[in-house]
Amino acid sequence: MEMTPETIRALLDAFERSDWREMVVEVGEDRLHVSRDPLPAEAAALAPQAPSSPTAARFDGAPAASAGGDAVGGTTPEEASATAGGGGSPAATGPAAGAALATGTRIESPSVGLFWRAPSPGAPPFVELGGRVAAGETVAIVEVMKLMNHVASPVDGVVTAILVENGEAVEFGQPIVVVDPEG
């Protein structure tokens, strides 16, 4: 087996359709590591980075045994849970966060905003998982108050992950698309 774009596409496809949580494929020096949970390295990249302080992870105020129901304070335990995890990237807790890829060039959002995979509703997406993309080509749009920021791939390669759902909120620096230049 060789790590061709086709192989990667097939592997990712199989992973997508499976209920596997994690997949590691090693071929020669190539290594493909996919996980529905953030990978350690990815997790660090996704979490807020403090130059000299720990990331701002929080005490989850509503452990299992809690009866909840704390109306005063504006934040219900449910909301507290929802924001627990340090106010990191919204996508880190979203459904797409799992499909993090350890290899390839991670393209980050240039701004806070909304993530769009296509130039307009109903139009075909800029890129598909496993598809080829050329350097300079748009892979997504991050919309900042109606301003459409086209995000270009810095490399030629294969799209090995799309980390955010269409229409979801992203923040600055959040990885949105991964392109493997080896593909």
């Binding site: 992870a57 509503a62 809690s66 009866a67 909840g68 005063v72 304070g73």
Partner: protein, 461 residues
């Protein structure tokens, strides 16, 4: 004459609290530290630091001679013992008197009279204060057996030398006495350097209510309201409130007056706490003992009354009169203190010393945080696990409880496991919200429920 330079013979949050009171009063603070506490927050904030010994408390915070030498060699004219360690040792008060160092607390004689449980009980009887039955100091396990049979099981074994739950054991029956005696004796020896024990009748479903008292050298004695400290685990207080909720005005008045009469009869200067066991159904209270020192939970009284207990202690020690009269002290609102310990509740509350990588307690107008913790501090494994006291207040108990839960949700701490999540769940329990608890409720009702719920959640995940 006002104090000039004070040796603080303690550590942790109470050392910081006393440094703060010194700052307020314009007194120079000198902190006696053990080797691992050289970089503590108290050491950073104090005007001067003197290292008195190695990590082991017996060779530092519990070594009377070294503590006194620290005061003498640094030119201190006074010494504050804080709570725990040597704070209830009349020998320290006596040695200070001998050496011309003002002890911030009662005279050795007053401490002996108030600290000796038998004397205090006799005094209460004399003054017509109802008491909870108990013994004098017991010499041996055999004696304990005899006294317990006379009082009737269950009984409580208690350390004569100090409080804070150290050296305390409930004994349900004679079969348990031997083991409990050995444990309590050993614990008391380790905590206070004094293993003497006595016995007390154990009242089921009782609440622990205490009254904060202050007395000055002129003989003025006031009480600064009462506190409820019923939520305990193994006689360690977890949560304290002021005022004690749901007491009738008559009982509140009765307790306050009894406490003032007791302290007034003792020729007592400084802060004292009179403890009572309250039977909420019968609206009756039995006197337990006097704590002749500042207590961990003093902040709740400060918050509801506006009286600064520690500053009053310093002023009284300096020979000044109390700054307030009884008629000026009025409680307003409700305050709750939660102890945040570096402990792992799921692992039987095992201490979790280590490096605190993140420490960001919540900031709010109704939130006071008494702590010695800071980001980068290493909680040493040698002393107690109290990391911080979160004191939240509100116009009434319901608001204070809600504020406390909100504050607990907003406490950001990493590096060491804490009891914050446990405390949140505790304060969300309907029995706590309704105030339907007793001193054994945490162990008998809450902890079993809580462990079950945790396990169920773990399985479901």
């Amino acid at each position: 004459m006002a104090l000039r330079r004070l040796l603080i013979a303690n550590r942790g949050e109470i050392a910081v609290r006393i440094v703060k009171a010194c700052f307020d009063e314009g007194i120079e603070s000198v902190l006696a530290v053990s080797e691992p506490d050289r970089g503590s927050l108290g050491a950073q904030l104090a005007d001067k630091v003197v290292c008195i010994g190695p990590a082991a408390a017996a060779e530092s915070y519990l070594d009377l001679d070294r503590v006194l030498a620290a005061a003498k060699t640094t030119g201190c004219d006074a010494l504050h013992p804080g709570y725990g360690f040597l704070s209830e040792r009349p020998e320290l008060a006596a040695a200070c008197e001998e050496e011309g160092v003002i002890f911030v607390g009662p005279s050795a004689a007053a401490m002996r009279r108030s600290g000796d449980k038998a004397t205090a009980r006799a005094l209460a009887r004399e003054l017509g204060v109802p008491i909870n039955e108990g013994s004098e100091v017991i010499a041996s396990e055999a004696d304990a057996r005899r006294v317990a049979a006379a009082i009737g099981y269950p009984v409580l074994l208690k350390a004569a030398a100090g409080g804070g739950g150290r050296g305390m054991r409930m004994v349900e029956s004679e079969a348990e006495l031997a083991a409990a005696w050995a444990q309590a004796h050993g614990e008391a020896e380790a905590a206070f350097g004094d293993g003497r024990l006595f016995l007390e009748r154990y009242v089921r479903h009782a609440r622990h209510v205490e009254v904060q008292v202050l007395g000055d050298a002129a003989g003025n004695v006031v009480h600064v309201g009462n506190r409820d400290c019923t939520l305990q685990r193994r006689y360690q207080k977890l949560v304290e409130e002021a005022p004690a909720h749901g007491l009738s005005a008559a009982l509140e008045r009765e307790l306050g007056e009894a406490a003032v009469r007791l302290i007034a009869a003792l020729d007592y200067t400084g802060a004292a706490t009179c403890e009572f066991l309250v039977d909420p159904e019968r609206e009756s209270a039995g006197f337990l003992e006097i704590n002749a020192r500042l207590q961990v939970e003093h902040p709740v009284s400060e918050v509801v009354t506006g009286v600064d207990v520690v500053r009053e202690m310093l002023r009284i020690a300096g020979g000044e009169g109390l700054s307030v009269g009884q008629e000026e002290i009025a409680g307003s609102g409700h305050a709750i203190e939660v102890r945040i310990n570096a402990e792992s509740p799921p692992r039987e509350f095992a201490p979790t010393p280590g490096l605190v990588t993140q420490w960001a307690p919540p900031q709010g107008s109704d939130v006071r945080v008494d702590t010695a913790c800071f980001p980068g501090w290493t909680v040493p494994p040698y002393y107690d696990s109290l990391l911080a006291k979160l004191i939240c207040s509100g116009p009434d108990r319901e608001a204070a409880l809600a504020r406390t839960r909100q504050a607990l949700r907003h406490l950001r701490v990493q590096g060491v496991e804490t009891t914050a999540g446990f405390a949140f769940d505790l304060l969300a329990h309907p029995d706590v919200v309704a105030g339907r608890v007793h001193t054994r409720w945490v162990e008998e009702t809450f902890l079993p429920e809580w462990s079950d719920a945790r396990e169920a959640a773990a399985e479901a995940a």
